[in-house]
Amino acid sequence: MASEGDRRSDAEVARRSRLLGSLRLEGEGARGVAIALLSTAVFVVAVVVAVTQSAGWPEVRRVFFSWHDISGSFPEIARAFVLNVKIFLVCEVFILVFALMIAVLRSLPGPVFFPLRALAIMYADLARGVPTILVIALLGFGAPALQLTGVPTSRVFWAGVGLVLIYSGYVAEVYRAGIESVHPSQEAAARSLGLSRFQALRRVILPQAIRRVIPPLLNDFIGLQKDTALVGTLGVIEAFNQSQIDSNATFTYGAYLAAAALFVAITIPLARLTDLLIARDRRRRQAGGGLA
């Protein structure tokens, strides 16, 4: 029954259905794709109709979707966004290093290291348990209030410290998951070759562990990018605060959309890259390839 043409289109369909993988349609062929397209079209039309027919739509369109407001506020918000980019780039470097230290402390074996392990656990619990906005407010306004000589009063500095502290809690847990996913035999083998415990960690365990957790690390990086907007609560003019200023000056919300577009322009490519890395990792593991 299956002709040459059908097989070719099957391959094409398989390629496409990878795109639609989130709809769980892999391998269902042309019918699956057709249903997916139809379902999507119905859904989009229904949402558009529901929104534009609602009683409040004319007002919402005026205050949220005014092109004049969006484009008018964009250049200044884009300039303010440079600060967000600087903050998340600098913070990410510190987070990756600091979190790795915590994760390594937490995975130290033996009763001698119990205090260090306990500290690392307490830290991860606290960092993940306290809302980021509170930490930023406490550090940004609290630390300079001590008026200690030599302690910086810069709000951007303290907000950055807050973000590093919070995100290190999350990232340390990601590292730990990676470290624990490396089979104990790997360390045993390394030690049997004469490597010290530190050398085994440095040369054998961490390289495997970190490679495995790159996708979740990128995930946290995306979260960090968005959370740079919290720095605005300290009065610093970054993209979100600038959009609030514009919004409050005109009593419209177009500026928020402009700010959202800037964040999305950076986070979506990273999200796709993360997906790509996850897929590549899955393929490599399914192929049964070597780890190192």
């Binding site: 229904a46 109709v49 009683a55 300079p144 008026q147 009063t153 609030q244 419209t252």
Partner: protein, 291 residues
């Protein structure tokens, strides 16, 4: 099974779309009545005048000892300029003190689209043409001047002109016109800061994270008297062309605006507004003007 689920999805969406279509209704009822008699007013809650303001409510705009849920002071006290003006307007409209209720409206909610939770909002909101496209403003109940608060003994404290403020790091509160004033008139060389709350702005000034805080003059006197020890009002700025004034905020198209304007005009001509300004904002006149 799969087909069934798909059909269910389509049916669900169809129902949702139909449901939304049917909820469409005319935006407002009759607005024909021109009478400002109490019974004719189109109110959020009939029989009572619902007034919005932010919480905490700060002096000198509000006064009295705070009772839950209000912080710092209490709008229901009738004390403080905005509370007193609100009750005076309510009286003109025929509402007894007991027929006025206050509701907490954060500044950014005062202009959010959709039905409002208040008949009018009184919260030191400056009139501007852009804002008036989205909400309705009453006429002025206070003509306001901007001013700058600084820490005593810091370099900025000896400044006497607007131009000399340029090299300093200035701050303002979000939603005030003070930020626009900093950008348009002072044009400082350091990036200004904008704080989402009064508390943040005050803390930053205390911590010397900013050199000066630009606020309206009556608020400036409260900041120096209560919030930031060892601070002073450096001076007030000359009014911008056309002046700046606070107005009460209404839902766009509210029929109440004309009635409140009538009440305000009565209170202005009989001297009540001036009397209340002398009572609550007297301090706000004694600051040097920065040229």
């Amino acid at each position: 099974m799969r087909k069934l689920a798909f059909l269910a999805l389509v049916a669900l969406l169809a129902v949702a779309a139909a449901g939304c279509g049917s909820t469409k209704k005319s935006a407002s009822g009759s607005t024909g009545s021109t009478s400002c008699a109490k019974g004719n007013l189109n109110l959020v809650s009939s029989g009572t005048l619902t007034i919005g303001t932010d919480n905490p409510a700060f002096p000198p705009w509000f006064g009295g000892t705070p009772h839950k849920p209000w912080q710092v002071s209490d709008p229901r006290s009738g004390q403080g300029y905005e509370s007193a003006v609100a009750y005076a307007v309510a009286k003109q409209l025929g509402f007894a003190k007991g027929e006025v209720t206050w509701t907490h409206v954060p500044f950014s909610n005062s202009f959010a689209p959709g039905p409002k939770s208040f008949d009018f909002d009184i919260n030191q909101i400056s009139f501007s043409k852009a804002r008036a496209k989205v909400v309705d403003f009453s006429d002025s109940y206070y003509d306001v001047n901007q001013s700058v608060v600084v820490n005593k003994g810091t370099p900025i404290a000896s400044v006497t002109s607007v131009a000399a403020l340029k090299p300093y790091e200035l701050g303002a509160q979000l939603g005030t016109t003070s930020y626009q004033f900093i950008n348009d008139t002072i044009k400082p060389s350091k990036k200004p800061s904008v704080f989402p709350s009064n508390a943040g702005a005050v803390q930053a000034l205390k911590n010397k994270q900013i050199d000066g805080l630009v606020v309206d003059l009556p608020t400036a006197f409260y900041v120096t008297a209560v919030q930031v020890p060892h601070s002073k009002v450096l001076g007030q700025f000359p009014a911008p062309p056309g002046g700046e004034h606070f107005g009460m905020v209404f839902q766009k198209g509210s029929s109440l605006v004309t009635c409140v304007n009538k009440a305000l005009s009565k209170l202005r001509s009989d001297g009540t507004l001036k009397g209340l300004q002398q009572q609550w904002l007297a301090k706000a006149t004694g600051a040097p003007t920065l040229k």
